[in-house]
C-alpha cells in the first residue's frame, strides 16, 4: 500500500505539479496569441519576445524595489512590479501596432504579410531586450521558496517520497485562475468584450453594427500584452529568465493555441495543459515510479524515459504537425490557419 502511495506522490511531485504550473503559463501565453489571431487575424510571432520584454521590465523594477528594501514576503517582490511591466508591454504593443501593423491593416494586406512583419517585430524586440538586460540568465525571485517542503511532507505523511510545492507554482495557478476568470468575464459580460467577440466572429457585420475597429484592436493589444506580462513573469519566477528561452517558448505556445483551436480562448487554455502534460510525461524518467509498483526484476535497467528533456520542443512540434494534419481546427473548432 505504501508503495502505491509513494508512486503517486512521486508522480505528483515530478509530473503533475510541474505540468500544471507549466500548462498555466503556456495557457496564458496561448490566450494572448489566440486573441490577436481572433481580432487582427494573424499569428503573432513576436508574442514570445513581447513576454521577454515585459518580464525584463518587471525584473528591472523588482531590482529597484529590492534595493529599496520594499517587499511583500513571503510573496515575491515581482508581483508589485507586475503592473509596471503590464503598462510597458501595453505601451510597446500599441507603439508597434501604430508603426507597423496599422500600415498593413490600412492596405488590407494578406495575413501572411502580417506574419512576416511580426517576425521583424520579434527580432527588434529580441534585440532591445538583449541590449538592455543582456542574453544571460537573470534571477529575480525572492520571498518564500516553498509552500510545502519535501521534509515537511515526509514528516506529515511518513512516506518515503516527498512532495514539494514551490511558491512560484502555487502562485502561477492562482494568478492564472484570476486572470482567466477576469478575461472570460470581460468577453462574456461587458459591451466591449461582446464587441470584440462580434468583430472576431464576423468583421463586416460588426462594422455594420457600429463597432469601432480601432477600439477593438486597441483592446486586443491591451489584453494580449497584459497576458504576456503575467505569463512571462510567472514563467521567470518558476524557472528562470533568459531571453532565448522566451523566444523558444513560442513553439509550445503556438502548439497550445492551435491544438485548442485558434481564436477560441477556452481552447488556448485546454491546449496549454495538453502541451504541458505531453512534454512533462514524455520526458519524465519512470524507472523509480515503476520500482514502487513492479517487482524489481521486471523493471528495465534504463531510465524508462521516452525522450530526453533535450528534445522537449520536438514534442510541441509533433503535436502541432499531427493536429494540423488530423484536425486543423483544433479541439474547439477554431479557425484554420
Amino acid at each position: 500500500m505504501d508503495d502505491i502511495l509513494n508512486a503517486i506522490v512521486l508522480l505528483t511531485n515530478f509530473v503533475i505539479v510541474p505540468a500544471l504550473a507549466y500548462g498555466a503559463q503556456l495557457a496564458l501565453g496561448a490566450l494572448g496569441v489566440t486573441i490577436i489571431f481572433g481580432i487582427l487575424r494573424f499569428a503573432n510571432f513576436a508574442h514570445g519576445d513581447l513576454m521577454a520584454f515585459a518580464t525584463m521590465v518587471v525584473i528591472l523594477v523588482t531590482w529597484v524595489l529590492q534595493d529599496a528594501g520594499i517587499g511583500i514576503a513571503p510573496l515575491p517582490t515581482a508581483l508589485i512590479a507586475l503592473p509596471v511591466g503590464i503598462l510597458a508591454a501595453i505601451a510597446i504593443s500599441l507603439f508597434t501596432d501604430r508603426c507597423v501593423y496599422r500600415f498593413y491593416r490600412q492596405k488590407k494586406s494578406a495575413p501572411v504579410i502580417f506574419v512576416i512583419a511580426s517576425i521583424g517585430v520579434m527580432f527588434m524586440m529580441n534585440g532591445i531586450v538583449r541590449v538592455i538586460i543582456g542574453p544571460d540568465d537573470q534571477s529575480f525571485g525572492d520571498g518564500a521558496r516553498f509552500l510545502i517542503q519535501v521534509t515537511q511532507f515526509r514528516e506529515w505523511t511518513g512516506l518515503k517520497e516527498g512532495l514539494a510545492i514551490k511558491m512560484s507554482q502555487a502562485l502561477t495557478l492562482g494568478v492564472a485562475v484570476i486572470a482567466v476568470a477576469a478575461l472570460f468575464w470581460f468577453m462574456q459580460r461587458t459591451r466591449a468584450g461582446k464587441a470584440m467577440r462580434a468583430y472576431s466572429d464576423n468583421e463586416d457585420l460588426a462594422l455594420l453594427s457600429g463597432v469601432n475597429p480601432d477600439r477593438v484592436v486597441f483592446y486586443a493589444w491591451v489584453i494580449a500584452a497584459t497576458l504576456a506580462t503575467i505569463a512571462g513573469t510567472l514563467y521567470g519566477l518558476d524557472k528562470s529568465f533568459k531571453p532565448f528561452t522566451y523566444f523558444q517558448l513560442l513553439l509550445p505556445i503556438f502548439a497550445a493555441a492551435i491544438v485548442g483551436g485558434i481564436g477560441q480562448p477556452l481552447g488556448a487554455i485546454v491546449g496549454g495543459f495538453i502541451v504541458a502534460f505531453s512534454e512533462v510525461t514524455i520526458t519524465y524518467a519512470y524507472r523509480k515510479f515503476l520500482l514502487y509498483l513492479l517487482p524489481a526484476e521486471w523493471v528495465p535497467d534504463g531510465l524508462v524515459q521516452f525522450l530526453s528533456t533535450d528534445y522537449k520542443f520536438a514534442i510541441s512540434f509533433v503535436i502541432l504537425v499531427v493536429v494540423l494534419l488530423v484536425r486543423p481546427t483544433g479541439v474547439f473548432r477554431g479557425k484554420v490557419i
Binding site: 464587441a195 462580434a198 457585420l205
Partner: protein, 234 residues
C-alpha cells in the same frame, strides 16, 4: 420626393461599371422590390445605396440629407438597416447577443424595441440563449432581420432574405416583412423569388444590365406580359 432616393447610380468594382444609371426610391411604409435576371446588378445596387460601393456618378439622399459620401456605419447611425445575403448573423454568439449587437450604437433604453422584435419573431424569444449558428436557415434569417431592426431603422434593406429557405418559411418571412412595413418603416429588398416578392410589394423595379427596365406597382409588374415572359418564367 421619396424618403430614400438613389438617383442615376453609376459604378462597379474595378474598371467596369455594373450600374449604368439606375434609380431606386422608397417611401416610408412601402415595400419596394428589385428583381431582374442574374448579373443585372441587383445586389450591387443595394450595396451602392448602402455605401458599400463607391459611386462614380449619381447621388443617394435620405430624407433631407445627401448621404452619397457617407460610410455604411454612418448610414446605420442615420437610420438605415441592412441585412446582407450571407454571413448575416454572429454565429458564435447567442440570439440575445446578436440582438444586443444590433443595438450596439443605441444609448437609450432599447428594451421596448426588444419586446417588439420578440412579438414579431416569437421563436427568437424561445431560443434567445442558443448560439445563432445552431439555428435553422429560416430562424437565422429571422435573427438577421431582428438584429437590423434593433437599430430602430427608418429604412430596412434586405438582400435576398429568402435565399435558401423553404417556401413555407419564405411565406412566413414575407408576412413578417409586411408587418414591419406596417409600422412605417421603408423596406427595400432584392429578391430571387420575383413573383412572390412582387405580390407583397407596393412597387417594384426590374433591373437589366444595371439599368431600370420597368418600374411600376408590384401588381402592375406581375400583370405586365413582357415582365412575366422575360423575368417571371411565364
Amino acid at each position: 420626393m421619396s424618403f430614400l432616393i438613389a438617383e442615376n447610380m453609376v459604378g462597379g468594382y474595378g474598371g467596369s461599371d455594373i450600374l449604368k444609371g439606375c434609380t431606386i426610391a422608397v417611401e416610408k411604409g412601402e415595400i419596394v422590390v428589385i428583381v431582374g435576371p442574374n448579373g443585372a446588378g441587383k445586389s450591387t445596387a443595394m450595396k451602392a445605396v448602402f455605401g458599400m460601393l463607391d459611386l462614380r456618378e449619381g447621388s443617394v439622399r435620405l430624407g433631407e440629407d445627401d448621404i452619397t459620401t457617407l460610410s455604411p456605419q454612418e448610414r446605420v447611425r442615420r437610420g438605415m438597416g441592412f441585412v446582407p445575403q450571407n454571413n448575416n448573423v454572429f454565429s458564435t454568439m447567442t440570439v440575445m447577443e446578436n440582438l444586443e449587437m444590433g443595438a450596439y450604437l443605441r444609448e437609450d433604453d432599447w428594451s421596448e424595441t426588444l419586446d417588439q422584435v420578440f412579438t414579431l419573431f416569437p421563436i427568437l424569444k424561445e431560443k434567445r440563449q442558443q448560439d445563432a449558428g445552431e439555428l435553422s436557415g429560416g430562424q437565422r434569417q429571422q435573427v438577421a432581420v431582428a438584429r437590423a431592426l434593433m437599430t430602430r431603422p427608418q429604412v430596412l434593406m434586405l438582400d435576398e432574405p429568402t435565399a435558401g429557405v423553404s417556401p413555407i418559411v419564405m411565406d412566413e418571412l414575407f408576412d413578417r416583412i409586411i408587418e414591419i412595413r406596417n409600422t412605417g418603416i421603408a423596406i427595400l429588398m432584392v429578391e430571387q423569388n420575383a413573383a412572390q416578392a412582387l405580390a407583397i410589394a407596393d412597387r417594384g423595379y426590374v433591373l437589366v444590365t444595371g439599368e431600370n427596365r420597368f418600374s411600376d406597382s408590384g401588381q402592375a409588374l406581375l400583370e405586365n406580359d413582357e415582365v412575366r415572359r422575360s423575368f417571371l418564367g411565364g
